[in-house]
């Protein structure tokens, strides 16, 4: 059954959920040392807040590169699932990466797009994602397994499928604008070193 069947056809039909709750739900399903790349917005704050794991990489800059970084990890380690958590504003800056991933069809890559319709971390300015449907853009870029999550239970089911069946997967979630529950510890060399040990590149 196509991934989008019985799911919201457009952003406007998707339920608005809480980023912190969704991040905890995602992390709760990670049982095989999956790598997670947290994007430059509040995505990485909430990933940190869901409980640090050595397989987490928290971005401190380079807006829009959560998916490209995750793609690189996924290509280097085809046996490992790699999840990119990216904000809508960040993805709008690097839309071309959806086309790149679609062309490569990287099976172990999962992209979670957190859409609050704003650039929240810089003051909540309105983003074009309110009118441009990012999941529609992903699908038309060639990522056929792209869909909006209807609600929390649906998100859990989508994550379970994306962590077990061949991707690439794009899971769109509409989120509200609650402040994140935690602030990521900002020590880039430590983040990188722990991540590389967490995914077994160095010992």
């Amino acid at each position: 059954m196509p991934f989008a069947t019985n799911r919201p056809l457009a952003r406007a039909e998707a339920r608005v959920m809480a980023r912190a709750d969704l991040t905890r739900r995602l992390v709760a399903q990670l049982k095989h040392e999956e790598a997670v790349i947290g994007g430059i917005g509040f995505a990485n704050f909430e990933l940190w807040g869901a409980g640090h794991r050595p397989q987490n990489f928290y971005m401190l800059g380079s807006m829009g590169l959560a998916i490209p970084i995750a793609l690189g990890v996924a290509l280097a380690q085809p046996q490992r699932r790699v999840v990119a958590l990216e904000g809508d504003g960040s993805l709008l800056m690097e839309l071309g990466t959806l086309a790149t991933v679609a062309g490569l069809r990287t099976p172990n890559l999962v992209m979670v797009i957190q859409d609050n319709g704003t650039y929240q971390i810089t003051g909540g300015q309105k983003a074009a994602s309110e009118t441009a449907d990012l999941i529609g853009i992903a699908r038309e870029s060639g990522l056929t397994q792209a869909a909006w999550a209807a609600d929390e239970a649906d998100f859990d089911a989508m994550v379970a499928q994306a962590l077990s069946a061949p991707g690439p997967w794009v899971i769109g979630v509409r989120i509200g604008t609650d402040r994140p529950e935690a602030t990521t510890e900002r020590d880039p060399t430590r983040i990188r070193d722990r991540f590389m040990r967490g995914i077994g590149t160095i010992r």
Binding site: A35, I37, F57, M59, L60, G61, S62, G64, L65, I67, P68, I69, A70, L71, G72, V73, A74, L75, A76, Q77, E94, G96, T97, A99, T100, G103, L104, P188, T189, I191, R192, F195, M196, I199, G200, T201
Partner: protein, 174 residues
Amino acid sequence: MPDPKPWYETTVAVFKRHEIRLIPFVPDNVLRPLIGAIQADPFFTSFSCTREEEAMGVSAGGWMGGMRSIVLMQTSGFATLPNVIASLSVPFQIPTLMMVSERGTLGEFNLGQALVAKTMRPVLDALALEHHTIARDDELEFILDRSIRQAIATRMPACLILSPLLTGGKVFAA
């Protein structure tokens, strides 16, 4: 004396020696034979990206995952990279290697290319990055080999600039 290997064959051989397998790029006409040789060889995972910073992200992820990488681009592509170098490669100590085909000099016909090219070395110097301009066949292997070793050992990015003196560049057909 036998003809030396063309520059792109020497380059491929050095990449292989150092297990550099992941080669994202944004196309450039001068790099065409190098990209062609890499894409014809199953040793490499190589594909075009939509932006050079995207390729830098892929390269950084690949390196953290244990797959060595170099990004291929032309000078105009490099001009889009100060943000990613200064916010990803350098602070996280990820040795993203860059190979840049030097446009905008020695017979360039496009003023835009020529001006953009002038920004490249000042940016590299401002970031205190190792960079070398390769102009001669007989220095190519040494510079590539040593720069790759140093980048990996010091976990710092490095930029290898291929001069038209090496590649022949591109000239205005007039």
